[in-house]
Subunit: 341 residues, 6 copies
């Protein structure tokens, strides 16, 4: 029987101009539904995990469509609460070369952002589960949602689940002060933290000395420092960091590191020509959870997470649609892109 993972957060309607059109040139929008934790759930379901996603969605056909998209890829949607007035929306314009991708959020007043303690049947959702995952975006939606997250964490802890959190700082949603306070509190429940190069600094003021993100150079010692600080401050089991070197909107290098309190693991680095980079971090998280929940060792888990998320950059939409076999083929060194017949 497959392992069960539950994730909780917001799923939004994503509207993107076709191809590389700008917003003002578009006469149609491509539609996908995505969000940090939803993307993790879809990716896990594609790995064969019994993944459930919890959120709140309005009782209208757009809310139905979001649920259908999750179900399509095998996610358990039975514990999604229905109600509220709207689904969050984000507009995503794909960048290319020297032009960055652009995101316009329209997520205020979404059903999940107005959800309250009591809306979710955590016990039922966690039945048989081993893992609970959320990101820093979710408590940022409002104090009410932060309370919901804490409620979920408490139940998860009681029921013996491992809890992971991707820090995912969003400056449009809250200040660094507020983030630090709310996330600092939630850290008491968290076992595994995932972060990118900016999150630890923005949320907890933990800064890798001398790192210069724009210039795209990696400061490996700095990342070790950040991981160690997070690990120690919050008494974690593991800290994982994604390392993105952004040469342009079309070309990135992608790798990761993992710290388990004993060793610093660094992954292979992939040179990526990007199809859609949204959800890169989420697919890393899913790869990590998959590996750890199925008992892989830290180096394997990191390599799997990095290879999975490397593949995500070649896939349209928010979520990662790859199988375990595909990830392992890449992990094992075949990045040649030869046709698979």
């Amino acid at each position: 029987m497959s392992k069960r993972v539950v994730t909780f957060g917001e799923i939004m309607l994503r509207l993107s101009p076709p191809g590389y059109l700008r917003f003002t040139q578009a006469n149609s929008f491509d539609v996908v539904y995505g969000g940090g934790e939803a993307n993790v759930a879809v990716s896990l379901a594609n790995f064969g995990i019994d993944a459930a996603f919890i959120t709140k969605l309005p009782k209208n056909p757009i809310g139905d469509a979001a649920i259908n998209e999750l179900r399509r890829y095998g996610v358990d949607t039975r514990y999604i609460a229905r109600g509220g007035s709207r689904i969050g929306i984000y507009f995503m314009e794909k960048g290319a070369s020297v032009r960055p991708s652009k995101v316009v959020y329209d997520r205020a007043h979404s059903a999940i952002s107005e959800a309250k303690v009591g809306d979710i049947d955590w016990k039922a959702a966690f039945e048989g589960a081993e893992w609970f995952h959320f990101t820093g975006i979710t408590p940022a939606l409002g104090d009410n949602v932060a309370e919901l997250v804490e409620e979920g964490c408490k139940v998860a802890k009681e029921m013996g689940l491992t809890i992971s959190c991707d820090l995912n700082y969003r400056k449009k949603l809250w200040s660094t002060e507020k983030a630090g306070k709310v996330m600092g509190n939630l850290m008491q429940y968290v076992n595994i933290v995932i972060a990118n190069e900016e999150d630890a600094e923005k949320v907890f003021g933990i800064k890798a000395p001398d790192s210069d993100v724009i210039a795209g150079e990696l400061n490996l010692e700095g990342y070790k420092y950040v991981a160690r600080e997070l690990y120690n401050r919050f008494n974690l089991r593991m800290v994982a960091i994604t390392l993105r070197e952004s040469m342009s909107a079309s070309d990135n290098n992608w790798s990761g590191m993992l710290y388990d309190g004993k060793e610093y693991y660094f992954s292979k680095k992939y040179k990526l020509h990007i199809v859609d980079r949204v959800g890169g971090g989420d697919s890393f998280g899913a790869g990590l959870i998959y590996s750890l929940i199925t008992g892989k060792d830290p180096q394997y888990a990191l390599e799997f997470a990095v290879a999975a998320s490397a593949l995500k950059h070649t896939i349209e939409g928010d979520a990662n649609h790859v199988s375990v076999e595909e990830v392992e083929t890449l992990m094992k060194g075949d990045a040649s892109g030869r046709v698979q017949r």
Copy 2:
């Protein structure tokens, strides 16, 4: 020099599944931008009128795109206020045959619905204008917007503009009681009222005896009664009523009536096979305003308005993209649809 008409209201992002797909089947949405008064402005601009549209839109690329769409068809957008957090959205699924079209609104908290007295430079916008138009949707957005409408009406009145109002009752936005009160107050400024078969009843409790809308029979005496009541109660110059007989989502009959306090004018009736019926009433309003502002007699004005709006039913999107010549060709009796080479 062309006549100037100013309209005020909300313009929304409309998202529609392609063709006849249902919301839950769609993987892309066709994009247009529309709304009652914006549709009137576009249609008037297509008739060669110097049409200006006033609203408030967020300062982001989606707001820009809405403005671009208006400019594309020649509407003066200089007096649109920028600010607020979002553009209103509506989702529109096109019906066919026995399946009705379905609209899901997501318009709460739009920039215009949170606009306040002082946001609009009415004097500048009305410079050189002869006509001001709004619909019942706009004051329904909130008391603050109703105040804005009244502010606009006052300035328009002072500057000598004719004021028209399409009652356009929307039950999702307000109750009949509230509508009656707010619209009743605004009627003191209005010269010409446009309504469909339900509006007068819902807003002012004026009911055409024996009319049965579902069954699709027209009760012409009833409409005379309604028009006369509106005319007398609000001391109007003219009342126009659109008469829709809905056989199915694909086939409608369409006609109109006009009352000028002296005579009841009835138009020719068109059998329509529908491409997109959204904005049918707005295109009628535009046709009426065009005719009256250019000095046509009541029968001509009514026939022009009905022919224009008949054509709208054959055009994709919210707004009517036809020329005066095209409307007049249809008015004069050529509905044969022969290819124009």
Copy 3:
């Protein structure tokens, strides 16, 4: 808790030229996945029924995509066997007006057509179910599949399920003689038969006297005769017949009748302007099953089934994407197609 219905049969990849293009004009094909019993399952899931679909599909990404499409609409796909070499395919060119739709089948050697007794875990699939449904297409796929159907029927009967069968004669798959023999045997398990105007004659030689299908006239007495004959010959609980009058590929009349051994029920007749008529009969079956399993009386059940399938004709693809509320709105008489805001 919702009622459970299990259906068994083939799901195919359907490839259709966009719009009204002919096969030889197309440079892309629209993709849906459908088949008689799969369509019934999707429609039932859309009505809120716990619908499961059983088939066999190849273990490749096209088989995955078929399953995803079913899951998307909420169908339980856990009991689908995986294996075999290919998914059946059909090419569907949409007709219009005087040009009929055209179907080219490429279904030989599909995984389900080569499935064998033992491939399906009927007991597990029927756990908690009240109803089992199949069509005459499935046993026509081969003797091995007919044996599977019989195996399913036996288990269903033992477990107390109601069994319904849509005769659905396909001349490309078998002769009338073979069909009569195989279906005649399966009838011993069946409680409810659904048929169209041709099926009973082709499969069992039961002919409505004087009916002339091409000319599009309905011979109601003839249909009573057919229903009565089926009812009596196979000791059924109920016989339902769909009545299609085909004026053209674009315009059909649609109604139905039901016989319960006591009374002949006739439904309202709908004039349909067609979007996609594939799956019309399947959606009737789903409507009937929904009504009967939820305890509705025969007249209601028939009207619901006919209204549901009338709506199907306005929906793209094989399956019916409408809710119970939408069907009931139409049943109750609102076929006016007015916009639902």
Copy 4:
């Protein structure tokens, strides 16, 4: 061995907004290549006739694409001259219901309109052929093209080919006076004339008394008169007239008549719901030529031509993509549009 027919004229690049969009709404144009005689050739090739089309096209990739489109459907393109500066273009906006289709021509200076006597190797092209067809559009392109047509007619006559001409009057290309003079001269070579309700009047001043095209009533006696007049004046073998009743851009009635000097044949009348009506007359011509060249009797030939062109109205693009079997199925009375499996 299949019969050979040669047609001569202009093939244009046709650019159409998708669906029912207006020109000013379109962001892409659907591309087909068509023209009166090219459409006849494609339709004949689809009937299995060895059809050749002669024109002149520029030596550039757009000219290549036009040739490819002809080859795709089996037309012999070996005798097309290459050279000149451009391909003619026409923009076609599809009408619906009360809105007529609209054509904008941009055909001046096309390669064929600047072709000269000597550009075409008539003898080689006519080798083995039995029939030569042209329309009134071709000589209207210029005196030089009219000379080319006459050159072709002379060679065809010498080589014993039957010559047919569809009058096809285009007021944008020439005056009625000029048309009458040039076409009058060419009539000496022509054996069979095809016309619609306006052509005979516009080109030769032969008017069906009392016919009123706009109102859509057919004046059968008038058509007999027109056919007889044409027949007698130009010493023809046969005159065929297409009879269109245009209720709207979406709905037409379609039938035809034929006069062979002895009898007046009238066809069955089809009620058509239109997909694309461009090329309706051309497909009638192709149906007539096919029937006569394969030795069918006049009534059959007329019914085949009318049924073929009825089907054309359901097909996208300029040319008729139907087989002989499909036409005969419709001719024999099955207009029910039932799915052909």
Copy 5:
């Protein structure tokens, strides 16, 4: 109040196969409207400049659509003359990697190419303007158009406008001799010249010694020579040169230089992965004009122009759809392509 710039030239209908399809594979064409000076106007309007574009366009819906496209992006189209028979067309097939993009022109006989002195109301158009811009393409359209350009230059000079000219040599339109003569005459009015690596040589025989364009090496001393020669020969204020190194149709390096009679300025060089390179030079011109008219210093102006045009290479269509802020972000060094949330 924003600065006013007027540009004059041809706007064409551009027809492009979708994606990387070749002309002969395409069944639809993407539609944009563009041309050297029109692209400059659109880009300036996107920078907030009051940009007007002057041309002549036929009075038909395709001409209307071109105007709408300009208005959509905020260009003042009031001074466009209407008349003539056609809009110029160009077919553009996008290259990739080792396959070059291919352009087929069909611009002869366009309305603007047949425009005459007197068609344009220069005085009205230049009211309040500070700058007039044209390219070498426009006088190449014919002597009549060259006269129009000179008429415009004279009025501009009288009214005190700065005049800029992008040499833009097109060998399909005229010989180097003719170009040299006509452009040599127009240079008396011009203050600022923009050129690429070939223009100065082809038009004025000014050749950068040892430059080898195909090999993609930049000869900086050669460009200084060319700039100095142009500056001195025509008594200019400034000469700007775009420097393209074309590694493939997908990858180019892009930079620029500027000479103001005192110093040679060289810009940063961008490595570009190309979305659409048409209009690269035009967007450079717009960036330069924007910078100079708003009083920026030469180095800033050059960097802005190069960054703006680097961004253009990532944008579909002819015109540059970027804001001042976006250009400045890139100028200031952020080419990392990180998502802007």
Copy 6:
């Protein structure tokens, strides 16, 4: 008169998700028709060669569409046998960057795979031909097809044609043992062999020592060895080998070698950014055949073949749509991708 080449093999319906979508994300498939020898024929026809393709296709509209696609590009399809039950299908998902392209075959039971000796009129097809080409895929379809190939080879030999064979090993179709035996027998007829880095090893056990394909390093001495072995073992005139270095699914290096028994020729190497790499080898074969049949020397032939196939990687679909001029431009050194106006 142009040279005639005949190719024989399978043409399949190829179904591809649009852009970079995965199979499970696609709601439509792009349609092309292709296969090894069909691709060679199309490419040769694009070079102006009289190319004929022989296969067997079902007598249904999908078979018609495959023929139409071949005719569209000028291939002689007169000798294609009709019959059998289905066309082979393959599903092709385009990879990008680290994600490989994926092919799912559904070709069993295709008409050609069930064709028998006697189905093809070889004599008529070879009339006037100088060259016969097939690939190793065709005999792999079954013993019956291998017999057909041998029959063709015998007739070709008798009629004096040159015979070329692309080894093209497909592990899904047969074992290396079977391939070795069948291909070994056919080699007695073959004059020229084309292979890639794996074929010679898989089919004949001829292995380039030390070559490591995944790592993307070329072992030139190894290729010489392979070519020499093939040449000697089968008494050939020439052996050509394509050399692909696959850095990723998006970026490959591409070159080739040729051995004529005297010298080893190596081509220029192209760095390719890939649009669609399917058919790369086929386009190499077509380039080689074109060059040799028109009498070019070995170095030219190799460079032409490599340049032609380099261009293929930039073209959508299976077949190469480039002209001789385009190939020669690239061969001669212009890979700069500058726009060709």
